[in-house]
Structure formats: C-alpha cells, structure tokens
C-alpha cells in the first residue's frame, strides 16, 4: 500500500441527497499517467476535486502515505499541482503571462519572501519549454485559448508538485492546438518525475503517454485497466450510450460514429 502515492478506498461524495461519487476505490503508483474518462456528469471533476482537496467526502483517502480529509496542510497542497479547464479571464485584467506562471511559485516561497532570480529563471525556462517565452510580457487576457493552457501548465509545473491533476485541459481548443498541448503533456511526463491524472470526456484525444484508463459513469468506476481494453466498442458504447465503432490503422486506434 505504501508504494501508492494516491489511494482511495470506498470514497463517497454526497450533495443534496444525491451521490456524486459512489464507492470509488483507486490506487495510483508514483509516476503513473492515468486517464479518467467518462461522459459529462460522470463525476470526473468531483473525483479530481476530492484528491485536490476541494470537496468533502466520506471514505479513506491516502496521499503520500498519510490519511487526508478535504482540508489540507500547505505542505500537502504544494505537492499537488492543478491545471484547470480553459481559464476565462477579463481581457483587461492586469496580469502578464509570466506573472501568471510565477503565481505557481508563491505558495512554495511562503509569506514575506519575494520571487528572486531563481524563480524568474525557472519561469522563463518553463515558458521556453512550452514555446510561449515570446508571450511573457503580454496580458493573459490577450492570449489565445491554447496559449493560456500552456501558461496554466507552466504555472502548475513551477509549483514543483509530485502529482499533476488536469481537468479537461484540452477542452474548447481547436484540434491542432489540442494536439500541440497533448504533445507538451507527453513531453512533461517524460522530463519530470510526475504522477499524472488526466480527466477528459473526449476519448478521441488522449495523450500517448497515458498508461491506464479509469472509466467513470454515474459516479462509479466501470472499468480500471489498460487503455486498449478500455477503447473497445463494447466498453465505450456502454459508457456513452451511443453506437461507436473502433478500427485500427497503422497500429493506432480510431473511433467512428454516425
């Protein structure tokens, strides 16, 4: 059990008498890349929020070998990074892209310490890695959706977490931009020793580095295993209640639907 970085045992989340998550048990090893896939309203974001510490729950949650409730210590929070869905922001909001990335370091710095040269250098390195270094001095509200998501990724990594939670990071982006962001996610998984949890309802756009799929429906885990098995017509039909067909070309799986 100690080898698991995240361990959920019989987790329930209730809201207004309905169960958003029911009997969720899931173990995640260090450096694993897990996809949490399911239709809208399946409870994917709720599950992510339980791990992030935004949602009250019943059951046992173990993070880094310690039992946790929804309130977290600063130390635990620092070890969990979060990339939200596309950030909506007022175009006039006074914050530059590099300043947004830098906010990832604020918690770690602690009170009364300003970001120094080290943080600034790391910020620029990450922005270069994300190919957005040229946008450093642009207001965040002026960036495109894809650029804003790359800023979000850089920000989460600057926090130096052990776990990176991603809530539909490619939703609402053009296909080419989705692919670009996914490639960056693959690249980060290779470079950094991070455990990834990637939530999506779009099973046609999965990052190549993903190792395991957890299929979620109506607040329950309906499948937990390798991606190939998960991506079968039978499984996906059950999940999305829609006839889908899987075919292979050049070793890659494709999905077709009417």
């Amino acid at each position: 059990m100690d080898s698991f970085i995240i361990n959920l045992d019989d987790i329930n989340v209730r809201k207004a008498k309905s169960l958003l998550l029911e009997g969720i048990s899931l173990s995640v090893s260090r450096n694993e890349f897990i996809g949490i896939i399911g239709p809208n309203g399946a409870g994917k974001t709720t599950l992510l929020n339980v791990i992030a510490g935004l949602e009250k729950f019943e059951g046992t949650l173990t993070l880094f070998g310690h039992n946790e409730i929804w309130r977290r210590s600063r130390e635990t929070r620092l070890r969990i990074g979060y990339v939200p869905q596309l950030l909506q922001i007022d175009p006039a909001f006074p914050i530059m892209a590099s300043e947004v990335v830098m906010t990832g370091a604020i918690g770690r710095l602690g009170l009364f310490r300003s970001p120094g040269r080290q943080e600034r250098e790391k910020t620029m390195q990450l922005m270069e890695l994300m190919r957005i270094a040229h946008l450093a001095e642009r207001p965040l509200g002026h960036l495109s959706g894809g650029e804003r998501q790359k800023v979000s990724l850089a920000r989460a990594i600057l926090q130096q977490p052990d776990i990176l939670l991603m809530d539909e990071p490619t939703a609402n982006l053009d296909i080419a931009v989705q692919k670009e962001v996914l490639n960056l996610i693959n690249e980060i998984h290779q470079r950094e020793n991070l455990t990834f949890l990637f939530v999506t309802h779009d099973f046609t756009m999965l990052p190549d580095a993903m190792q395991r799929a957890v299929l979620l429906n109506n607040g329950k885990i309906v499948f937990n295993g390798d991606i190939d098995t998960a991506m079968s017509s039978e499984m996906l039909n059950r999940l999305f209640h829609y006839p889908l067909e899987i075919f292979e070309r050049n070793g890659r799986k494709f999905i077709s639907y009417d």
Partner: protein, 287 residues
C-alpha cells in the same frame, strides 16, 4: 480666487478636511482595486449599509456610532465570507439579501430614533468639513493598516486576485487574504461614514479601480493609479464644494465619475484591444 483658497487653508477644519480627503481617497481606492478585480461591487454596498445600520443602532443605544458601525461590519464580514464560499448560493444573491436586510434594519432604527435625525442622516452623506481630530486619527490608522496589508502580501494578493481557487490549491493562504480583506473593508467603510458617508462611499469603492482598469495591465501601477485618482477625486471635490458651496460628499463622487469618464474615453487599453480584434479578424480574412 487662488488667494482665497490659500487663505482657507489656514483654518483647522479645512486642514482636517484636506487630510481626510487624502486618507479617505487612499483607503477607499486601495479597496476598490479588490472590489473591481474580484468583481464584487455588491460587497461595498452591503458593507456600507452594515456600517450605516450599525451606526444608527449605536445612536439608539448611546454607543459611539463609528464603533457600532464597525462592529456591524465585522459581523457581516464574518457571515459573508463563509456564506459566499458555499457553492449552493450565488455570492450575488447572498450580498443582495444581506444588503436589503441591513437597509431595513437601518431604516427601522431611524424610525424609532427619538433624537434628531440630522446626525443619522449625516452618516449617509458624510461631511468633510465637520470632522474631529479623533475621526482623522482613526482614519489614518485604518488607512495605514490597509496599505501595510497590500505592501506585505502583494504577491499573495496578486495570486488571489487572479484566481482564488488556483491560489488555494497552490498553497497560498487564500483564506487569510480574503478574510483580512473583508475585515479591512469593514474598517475602511465604517471609518469613512463621517467623511463621505454610507451611501456615497460606494462610488469611491468602485470608480478608482474602474479608472485604473482603463489604463494599465500592471498590478503595481493599477494600485498607484487607483489611489491617485481616488485622492484626486476627493481633493478636487472638496475644492469644488468650497468654491460652489456644494455638499462635499456629492461633489467628491461627481469628480470621481468625471475622472473615470476621462480615463474611459482616453483609455489606451481600449484602443489596443480594438487593434488586436482587428488584427485577428484580418488574420482570419487572409487565411
């Protein structure tokens, strides 16, 4: 004319009014940065009515109105924070309910107030020219607390202003910042009942921040522009009220509106936003 003005400055009430203008402008406009960027203009309304209701109740019970106003603000801040964090109620609704309840309370107090109502009414629009030494001392203390808060926690403030949830998740003491802010809002609003009053303070809690929003993308300059325009509105309003014999609170608010309108018309940000829009549509056309 100028000689006449300079002459006026030798009178202690005018000197006090001038100092109060600087303090009131600075404290309200520092707060207005939060009000505007966190999109919570109703918080100013709710707080100013809390202060007003508290002050009226204080008069009824023979307590110092500033003290009772402040106590009421703190109470409301204590309720407002946890309530607006609840996901089953929109913060706007919470504030709306709070605001109307407090207004009802204030008018109820006014109704049963047997003493002269003029003093209570004064708390609604304030009077820069009838301030006491202790009013100024309290105002100066609260303003320096707020300034210290902004200077000491600037990087946390930036992170919370940008996104409260992300700030919390990345280990920033978001609750500490948010609750300190609510506490300071209560303090600033209640200590300014005497200067611009409970009704008109709302304008100063929104307009300086809205002015800065037209002019800069840099948060540091945002605070500076906001404070400068707030102090500018207060001082120019005071001078206008002296020259044209107008109620000072009203003159200050009108000046703040004029400054905002000028910033809006000459906003370089609006111009670049238009340019960006045009270049994007041009890019799409040429594709």
């Amino acid at each position: 004319m100028t000689e006449h003005l300079i002459d006026a400055f030798t009178y202690p009430p005018i000197q006090r009014a001038f100092i109060a203008c600087v303090l009131c402008g600075a404290s309200c406009s520092l707060l207005s940065v939060f009000v505007v960027l966190m999109k919570m203009p109703l918080i100013g309304v709710a707080m100013s009515h809390a202060a007003f209701a508290g002050a009226v109740l204080g008069m009824l019970l023979d307590i110092n109105p500033v003290l009772s106003g402040f106590t009421m603000c703190l109470l409301i801040a204590g309720v407002l924070g946890p309530l607006s964090d609840r996901t089953d109620m929109a913060p706007e609704n919470v504030l709306g309910i709070m605001f109307s309840f407090l207004m009802g309370l204030a008018f109820l107090g006014m109704g049963i107030l047997t003493k002269t109502k003029a003093v209570a009414l004064n708390l609604m629009w304030g009077n820069l020219l009838s301030l006491s030494q202790s009013d100024i001392v309290v105002l100066a203390f609260i303003t320096s607390l707020l300034l210290l808060f902004v200077l000491l926690y600037f990087k946390e403030i930036r992170s919370v202003l940008f996104n409260r949830q992300l700030a919390l998740l990345s280990g920033v003491p978001e609750r500490l910042i948010y609750y300190t802010l609510l506490f300071l809002t209560g303090a600033v609003v209640s200590s300014n009942l005497a200067t611009v009053g409970g009704l008109l303070i709302f304008a100063l809690l929104v307009q300086p921040g809205a002015t800065a929003l037209q002019l800069t993308y840099n948060l540091k300059y945002f605070f500076i522009i906001s404070v400068a325009s707030g102090i500018g509105a207060c001082i120019s309003g005071l001078i206008a009220s002296y020259i044209f014999d107008l109620p000072s609170g009203a003159a200050v608010v009108l000046m703040a509106t004029i400054i905002f309108a000028a910033a809006y018309i000459f906003s370089p940000k609006r111009r670049t936003a238009k340019l960006i829009k045009r270049s994007i549509s041009h890019e799409n056309d040429t594709r």
